[in-house]
């Protein structure tokens, strides 16, 4: 049975990857189970300088999901490259995905060139869901031209494969995907969180201090599947599918929609063992579905 998949020439022992922001820098989780069972790990989003992020509360419960407004808390790219990634590399032999954010094209560029220089990074994932401070606060990823501009800028400075992580808060995700492909992206990750809100009816206030936050978890799976499928049909880049995945059958579904690898986000918060459980479950499900090689189902629908 074959469970390994290949992203731009980089082999993952299986398609299961914890999504950025839901697995820290991999170190805490390494005390929960042997993280070497994971195909890859997408690290917490990093910016050029350290960020506290938003004030608490940052978390809101939702039916079958949650809202987070962590706001990219991170220690800055220098600490990531000099401390966090080398510490992870000591204990983890799989694929390390550095997730990069920015509030200007220049910040994306500087951040990507810093992570690109790290010998321990295999793939760079560029989160374009952040607001563009020079573009009236609109997220880079909500406009095809700006998404392409970020892609070109980061590709110029990166020596590693670059995956652009798309925002679902758009009308036509296929158009954005095509723009990134034309601008030179090596792959795409989708979806990021869906903008959402909860209100505390007793306090008459939004639950999260930042008012709005990113909605994700089991409830978003159908939206993620639809978008992965649309993007798969619109361009030929490899896709890391993400959004609402909680078990091995969701992984299979995501791959049938067109993903080569599959990221698991909020489910890690409900169950810190989720990715390990999915990795263990996957071969059993493949056997049941008569799948000899997991690659045969990619984009089959």
């Amino acid at each position: 049975m074959v469970t390994s998949v290949n992203l731009c020439g980089i082999e993952l022992r299986n398609p299961v990857v914890p999504a950025s922001g839901t697995f820290g820098f991999g170190l805490e989780a390494s005390s929960f189970y042997d993280i070497n069972c994971l195909g890859g790990i997408s690290l917490k989003g990093t910016t050029l300088e350290a960020r506290f992020g938003n004030e608490c509360p940052r978390i809101a419960e939702c039916p079958d999901g949650m809202i987070n407004s962590v706001g990219l808390q991170n220690p800055g790219v220098k600490v990531l490259v000099e401390e966090k990634i080398p510490a992870l590399r000591k204990i983890y032999g799989g694929v390390v995905i550095a997730n990069v954010s920015g509030f200007s094209i220049e910040e994306y560029e500087k951040c990507c060139s810093a992570v690109s220089a790290s010998p321990d990074v295999d793939i760079i994932e560029v989160n374009v869901s952040c607001p563009n401070v020079h573009g009236g606060g609109l997220a880079f990823g909500t406009d095809a031209a700006t998404a392409a501009q970020v892609t070109r800028a980061v590709k110029r400075v990166s020596t590693k494969p670059v995956f652009i992580k798309l925002s679902p808060n758009v009308t036509d995700i296929a158009a954005i995907a095509r723009a990134c492909e034309e601008a030179g992206a090596d792959g795409l990750t989708l979806i990021n969180t869906i903008l959402g809100m909860r209100i505390d009816i007793r306090r008459r206030k939004p639950v999260v201090a930042n008012r709005y936050g990113g909605f994700s978890g089991r409830a978003v799976l159908p939206v993620a599947l639809r978008m992965v499928n649309q993007v798969h049909n619109a361009c030929s880049l490899p896709i890391m599918g993400c959004g609402g995945v909680s078990c091995a059958s969701d992984v299979v579904e995501m791959m049938m929609a067109g993903a080569t690898a599959v990221q698991v986000g909020a489910e890690n918060l409900r169950n810190p063992m989720a990715c390990r459980d999915i990795v263990n479950e996957l071969p059993l499900l493949m056997e049941e579905l008569h799948i000899e090689n997991i690659n045969e189902i990619i984009g089959i629908v």
């Binding site: 608490c56 978390i59 809101a60 949650m66 890690n268 810190p272």
Partner: protein, 245 residues
């Protein structure tokens, strides 16, 4: 952190809207009073965090107040049913910081996280005064249990229905002193007042809405004098000097 299934031995109401649940299962991951567990609740996406009141080699107990969706569901759980927990979360209180005589100040449900702390302090031969504050007599919990441990127990209620009428800080005014360290757990305003009143060092147990409860999501980060800290992983117990109110 450990994950496991636990069996409910007892789940009953002990005061107004307050329940105690005793569970059997692996407690090896629980090391200190003030640590917490994260309870999976069928019908809720996220787990719910609760301090461990007390534990033995194979049982643990929680005391929880019914305040919303999750705790409402929990209050209906029957003896014998199974619950999934993450245990051994957070740092817990540090008894070694108290040399001889400790003052432990709790507000409402905050009496629960401090229970095992007081047990540890007394086992270590330290003298302990526990000040418990409640709105009224119907919320009184753990009063007899604290007395049985051998602690001096003083109570304040807002309406004067038990103990003195007033706040925990009013009780503190009546104490003899000689304390070298304090511990506090309860509503934030109460803990802030306690920290401002007492000039000795102390530890404070903070609360925040949580995602993972185990340090991987940065959902619970607070500002401290020592930089950003995750309440679930670096805390929930912090030094008085580090807390930014």
């Amino acid at each position: 952190m450990r994950q496991g299934d636990y069996t409910i031995l007892e789940n009953s109401r002990i005061a107004s809207r307050i329940w105690r649940m005793t569970l059997s299962g692996d407690t090896e991951g629980i090391l200190r009073g003030g640590q917490f567990v994260d309870v999976e609740v069928d019908g809720c996406f996220l787990r719910r965090p609760f301090a461990v009141t007390d534990w033995t080699k194979d049982t643990l107990s929680l005391i929880y107040k019914v305040v919303g969706q999750g705790t409402e569901i929990m209050s209906q759980w029957r003896e014998g049913s199974s619950v999934n927990l993450l245990t051994g979360l957070g740092n817990g209180f540090d008894t070694s910081l108290c040399r001889k005589k400790a003052l432990v100040v709790c507000g409402g449900i905050g009496a629960s996280p401090a229970f095992h702390l007081v047990k540890e302090l007394i086992e270590e031969g330290k003298e302990v005064t526990v000040v418990l504050g409640y709105n009224n007599a119907s919320e009184l919990i753990l009063f007899d249990e604290y007395r049985k441990l051998g602690a001096g127990v003083r109570v304040a209620t807002m309406d004067g229905s038990v103990g003195i009428k007033g706040l925990v800080t009013d009780v503190i005014d009546t104490l003899d002193g000689g304390y070298d360290f304090f511990y506090t757990c309860g509503p934030k305003v109460m803990m802030e007042a306690v920290c401002r009143k007492l000039d000795i060092s102390g530890q404070v147990s903070l609360e925040e809405r949580m995602g993972c409860g185990c340090g991987i999501c940065f959902g619970c980060t607070c500002h401290t004098a020592d930089g950003p800290k995750r309440v679930c992983f670096d805390g929930p117990v912090f030094k008085k000097e580090d807390v930014i109110w």
